[in-house]
């Protein structure tokens, strides 16, 4: 499906300072049976969020009244483990548009970007600073500017540039997934066909 366009976003943050959060934590295997991409948000971080009886655990950040927003800030090596695309769907479905970390697992990063969830990889020092500010003042906002590839802690206190492949950046700016991208270059494909009639 065409994905939601991403240009700039200003939002408060949800801090989750754990490192090595794997996809089994993001969405446990027992919730993978659905046949569509919707509805996974309610089981995001299921076993951290709820106890065995289904009661919300008060100490987990998604259950806290202090924090909310479309930006998840999390520790190093986020999204490791199983390659399930459902992890990206769950984060997106819950309402996150950006995940900030100092390192992302490769497959997770690809899945996320292909589903309109922007991964912003920052330095350890930037991440530490962001955690500190958000935790001391939950109303702290960040601005993510995809065109310029810059993340800023508002109001312009600290800025950092982040990397993203040109292809994925264009997909996100235009709201394309891989299939939309291919359809968008049909002219190029037709041109190629004209020059290669032998097959």
């Amino acid at each position: 499906m065409p994905i939601e366009k991403f240009t700039t976003l200003v939002s408060t943050c949800v801090p989750l300072p754990s490192e090595n959060v794997d996809t089994d934590q993001i969405i446990p295997a027992r919730f993978l049976k659905a046949t569509t991409r919707e509805g996974f948000g309610k089981n995001l971080f299921r076993d951290w969020r709820y106890d065995k009886t289904g009661k919300p655990k008060a100490d987990f950040v998604l259950n806290s009244d202090r924090f909310s927003g479309q930006v998840l800030v999390t520790g190093k090596n986020f999204g490791s483990g199983s390659s399930r695309e459902h992890a990206a769907w769950a984060l997106k479905d819950y309402g996150f548009r950006v995940v900030v970390s100092s390192f992302f697992a490769d497959i997770f990063k690809n899945n996320a970007l292909n589903n309109g969830l922007l991964t912003v990889q920052v330095s350890e020092s930037f991440l530490a600073k962001l955690f500190e500010m958000v935790q001391s003042d939950p109303s702290t906002e960040v601005m993510v500017d995809l065109e310029k590839q810059v993340i800023s802690i508002m109001p312009w206190l600290t800025q950092e540039r982040f990397d993203i492949s040109t292809y994925k950046k264009n997909c996100l700016l235009n709201g394309y997934d891989d299939i939309d991208f291919l359809v968008s270059i049909r002219d190029k494909i037709i041109e190629w066909e004209k020059q290669h009639t032998e097959l």
Binding site: T166, V183, I185, H196
Partner: protein, 466 residues
Amino acid sequence: MSKKTIFDKIWDRHIVYDVPDGPGVLYIDRHYIHEVTSPQAFAGIKDRGISVFRPRKTTATADHNVPTVNQHLPIDDELSREQINKLAENCREHNISFYGLDHPCNGIVHVIGPELGITQPGMTLVCGDSHTSTHGAFGSIAFGIGTSEVEMVLASQCILQTRPRKMRISIDGELQKGVTAKDMILYIISQISAGGATGYFVEFAGSAIRSLSMEARMTICNMSIEMGARGGLIAPDEVTFNYLKNRDFSPVGEEWESKVEFWKALPSDPGAEFDKELFFKAEEIDPVITYGTNPGMGTGIRGRIPLLEEIDEASRSSFKKSLDYMGFSPGDLMEGKKVDYVFLGSCTNGRIEDLRSFAALVKGKRKADDVVVWIVPGSKQVEKQAEDEGIGKVIEDAGFEMRQPGCSACLAMNDDKIPEGKYAISTSNRNFEGRQGPGARTMLASPLTAAAAAVTGKVTDPRKFL
């Protein structure tokens, strides 16, 4: 001019666009689809409100989930019936040619594509089935894809791909009598392991490969993905051209002549470079049989299962687990082990030559009493040819019967399941736990070895009968 491999020549010509700092856009000449991996892709196209970009470059068949008896009757299984009806409907709606159960050219996708002459040298081909590598036997780049990629091809006739690395496997010399292409590929996989070619696209070369028929070359390329390769291919030559001449979709007249010229320029240039090269000697290969639960766990049929000490320490526990599943012990001799089921068929060994070699061995003998034997031709055309050649009669006289075409016990999606705990000699391509039915124990082998077991009820060296 720089020296190129056949892979480079085909790949480079098919790159429509190199996405800066991204993957390549690879044009696909032929797309095969079947009932199981295509419905979600068609649904995706519909949701986007777009049409199939090049419907004439897609060909559909029903094979994965079809019954192999009473195909003239409505299908009993509801899910299977629905999948096939859905495919027929999607094909009608999008103008895609569909070889359904009532078509005289229906059959397993990787059998009918070559049979109809749709698969040709120099092409790029994809299908939502991992054994699409079969078509590489014609000197083309062919590989399996996932459902989202099926949708890409329907939408744009292209997919996004990163370039794999290149490996060449050369097998020189002459095969012993009774040793087939299936034994060659099972031997290679047993030598380099089921993950030995991960990340590579493999070219098979050498005098032993050149001397093989097209059917045999397809068996080799079919299983290239069982060593982890993205795909496998063999350069086209006179054998390829003779096979293709006069097939339904083969070019004719002047076009044929110019195609042959084009195909002749495809083979790798002398001195072209590969990222990795391996060499094997044909004489050293015996009939091979697998004893474990991945295709790399194979041994010569007179051989023994390795002892625990012979296995890498890191792999020992999975080796033991695998033998426990099979009910075998380290050091066991394979020959003489009991066989309950024999399956001759699949896109690996369901072609006319495979039926011929099975029939040649069982001719004048009788089926062993306590084995169940499923002989499943790869296509309606194979079925018909077998009848015409009198193979059906030979098989029948020996006490066997032929079923109707389909994937059947290769993946056991239909009713052809090996019961729990039973031993099957199978000419298919995967011996994974439960692949041929929950708890089924699969030993992969050639059609000759399958035939020997069908008349003895045991694992038997087929060379005894030749």
